[in-house]
Amino acid sequence: MSQKINDAIMENVENLSKLSLTAQEREKTAKEMEKILSYVEKLNELDTEGEEPLIHILDEGSRFREDEVTNGNGRDEALANAPGVADGQYTVPRTV
C-alpha cells in the first residue's frame, strides 16, 4: 500500500525542511515522492522481526574525545564566510 502524500503532509514536510514550494512545485514533488515511497515500501516484504536497526557499520562505533579546542581561534576566518557580521558576531533578524 502506497503512502498518499496530501497537502497537509506536504505542508508539514516543507516546514520541517524549512523549504517553500510553489503550488505547482508542490504538486509535482508530491507525485514524485509518492512514486519513490511506493517503491521503497518494497521493504515491507522483509520480515524484520527481531532484527536490530544497524546504525554503526563498524564494531568500534562512534568514539568521543574530550571537548577541548585544538584548532586555535579561527573566529575571523569563520566570520569571513558569514552573510551578516557585526562586532565580531553573526547577525540574524530580530528574534524577540
Partner: protein, 487 residues
C-alpha cells in the same frame, strides 16, 4: 604531452630522481587543463594562489628529504566537497558559492604532508546528490570519450579530469557509488575504501554513515598509493577506524586460488548485454589465471536501493539543516523574520534534487512515519550487512558491474528521479555494508564508451581486492585513457 604519459607513480619517481622538476610536472598538467576545460568543464576552480611558492617549497623539500612519499611533487585535483583552507569549496551549490574554508580537511593535510601539488577543485553533483554531475549549480561536465554524454556522478569532475589527462590523480567521495560509477563511465580506476578508513574531517557531509573519501587514477597501483597516503585513524572524525593501514601502493598482483563470487542477482534483468558480456570475459580471464570463479547469490539486492535512499535522504535532511543563511553561504535578500529568512535562503540556495532529498528525508523521519520507513531501512541494512558477512566467509571478492549501462547522454537523466536512483543498483549495497570496492575499466563498448567492473571485498580487506585488480589489469592489458585516444 611527454609528461602526461607517465603514471602518477612513474612521475613521482622521475621527480625524485630529478629527471622532471615539480614545476615541469605541474605546468604540464595545468596547461593541459587550460586546453581541455572549455570542452570538458571538469574543474570548478583552479588553485593559483600561492601555487608557485608551493611548487618551490616541495621541490626543495624533496631535495632535503622532507617529502619522501612516492607521490611527492605529483599534481592532484580534489572534489569540491572537500574543504581546502583559503580555496573556495562550493559543493556544486549556489548555497556555498562563495564559501572559503578556514581549515583543511584531514585528507588535504595528508596530501600536503606527502608533498603533493593541489591544482584545483572538481565539479560534482550538488552536495554529491546525483549520478551524472548535472545537478551542479555551476555547469555540466562532459564525458571525455564523447562530450555529448555525462561523466557519471557525483564525482564526475574528478573522473573526467583523470580521463581527459588534466590530472594524474584525484580525490572523490562515494556515498552510493559516486566514485565507482563515474570511474566506469570515464574509463578510469576508482577506489571506495572501507567505511572509516579515511577521515571524513572536512568532507562536507551528505549521509554521514555512508560517506567515504576515495581515490581516482589511471590504474590500480596509483589509486592504491594515493589511498595509502590518505588513510589512517584521525581523532577529529569520531567514526574513523583504528584499523591498521598497509603498504597498499607496494602490493603485488595475485589471483591464484582467489575465490571470486558472481552474484546472480547482478547479472539478470536490467543489465545491458554488452556489459554482461564484458564482465563474463573478465571473469573468464581471471579463471584462466587460477582464480576460483563461481556464481553466488545476494538475495537482499532488491532491497538495497529502498534502504539506501531512505537512510541517505534521512541523513541528508539532518546534515543540510546547517545551511540556514547565518554562519556561511548564501542568504536571501528580503524576509520578514528569522524563519522566513531560513526558508527563503534554503528555497533559493538549494537545487531541485537536493530539495527533493531533504523533503523525502524529513518525511521518513517525521512523527508517524519514522518506524515504517527509517527504522525499517536500518533493520534492512543489518540484514544486508549480514548477507555480505556470510558471503565473504566463502569468497575473497565479489565481481560486479559498476552500472547497468554505459554513460547516458546529457539531459536525459534528471526528468525521472526514481529511474536515476534505480541505476545505482550495483553500487549502493557496498556503502550500506561499509565495504571497500574498486571500479576499473574492463572493455570498450561499441558505442565508444568504456565499460567498468567492480571488485568488492569485506571490510578492511582492501589488499585482497587491490591485488586481484592489479593482476586482472595485467591480464586485460593497458586500458588507454580518453586523452590518449581522443587527444
Amino acid at each position: 604531452m611527454e609528461i602526461l604519459k607517465f603514471s602518477a607513480l612513474e612521475l613521482g619517481q622521475k621527480i625524485k630522481r630529478g629527471e622532471i622538476s615539480v614545476k615541469e610536472a605541474a605546468e604540464a598538467y595545468i596547461n593541459r587543463t587550460k586546453e581541455k576545460e572549455p570542452e570538458i568543464h571538469a574543474f570548478l576552480s583552479l588553485n593559483d594562489t600561492g601555487l608557485s611558492k608551493r611548487i618551490e617549497e616541495v621541490q626543495e623539500g624533496i631535495r632535503a628529504g622532507k617529502y619522501k612519499s612516492p607521490l611527492a611533487g605529483v599534481p592532484i585535483a580534489v572534489k569540491d566537497n572537500i574543504c581546502t583552507k583559503g580555496i573556495k569549496t562550493t559543493c556544486g551549490s549556489k548555497m556555498l558559492e562563495n564559501f572559503i574554508p578556514g581549515y583543511d580537511a584531514q585528507v588535504i593535510r595528508k596530501l600536503n604532508d606527502a608533498g603533493m601539488i593541489l591544482t584545483g577543485k572538481t565539479n560534482m553533483d550538488e552536495f554529491a546528490m546525483g549520478s551524472t554531475t548535472e545537478t551542479s549549480a555551476f555547469g555540466i561536465t562532459g564525458n571525455p570519450w564523447n562530450n555529448r554524454y555525462v561523466p557519471g556522478g557525483s564525482s564526475g569532475g574528478s573522473c573526467a579530469a583523470v580521463s581527459a589527462g588534466e590530472i594524474p590523480l584525484a580525490l572523490g567521495s562515494d556515498t552510493g557509488g559516486s566514485i565507482r560509477q563515474p570511474a566506469a563511465f570515464c574509463g578510469v580506476t576508482g577506489l571506495k575504501p572501507t567505511y572509516g578508513r579515511v577521515s571524513r574531517y572536512g568532507l562536507i557531509a551528505y549521509a554521514s554513515s555512508l560517506d567515504q573519501i576515495g581515490t581516482i587514477g589511471r590504474n590500480v597501483r596509483d589509486c592504491a598509493a594515493l589511498f595509502e597516503t590518505i588513510a589512517g585513524w584521525d581523532e577529529k572524525d569520531g567514526t574513523s577506524s583504528s584499523g591498521k593501514t598497509e603498504r597498499w601502493g607496494s602490493l603485488e598482483g595475485n589471483l591464484k586460488g582467489v575465490r571470486i563470487g558472481l552474484p546472480k542477482e547482478y547479472f539478470g534483468k536490467g543489465l545491458d548485454n554488452h556489459i554482461k558480456e564484458a564482465l563474463e570475459q573478465a571473469a573468464e580471464l581471471m579463471r584462466e589465471s587460477g582464480a576460483l570463479v563461481e556464481e553466488c547469490s545476494l538475495k537482499m539486492t532488491e532491497y538495497t536501493i529502498p534502504a539506501y535512499y531512505i537512510i541517505a535522504c534521512a541523513e541528508a535532511s539532518s546534515n543540510l539543516e546547517r545551511f540556514d543563511g547565518v554562519k556561511y553561504g548564501y542568504r536571501a535578500k528580503n524576509w520578514e523574520n528569522i524563519h522566513d529568512m531560513y526558508r527563503k535562503t534554503r528555497t533559493a540556495g538549494f537545487g531541485e534534487e537536493v530539495k527533493r532529498r531533504i523533503l523525502l528525508g524529513s518525511f521518513v523521519l517525521s512523527a508517524g512515519y519514522y518506524d515504517a520507513y527509517y527504522l525499517k531501512a536500518l533493520k534492512a541494512k543489518n540484514m544486508i550487512k549480514k548477507e555480505f558477512d556470510r558471503t565473504f566467509e566463502k569468497y575473497d571478492c565479489i565481481l560486479a558491474p559498476a552500472a547497468p549501462s554505459s554513460a547516458p547522454m546529457k539531459g536525459t537523466s534528471l526528468q525521472d528521479p526514481l529511474k536515476m536512483y534505480l541505476s545505482d543498483i550495483y553500487t549502493v549495497a557496498v556503502n550500506l555494508a561499509g565495504l571497500p570496492a574498486v571500479s576499473l575499466p574492463c572493455a570498450m563498448g561499441k558505442d565508444g564508451l568504456p565499460v567498468g567492473m567492480q571488485l568488492i571485498g569485506n571490510r578492511f580487506q582492501e589488499s585482497k581486492i587491490l591485488k586481484a585488480a592489479m593482476e586482472y589489469e595485467k591480464l586485460r592489458g593497458a586500458f588507454k585513457m580518453a586523452w590518449e585516444v581522443k587527444g
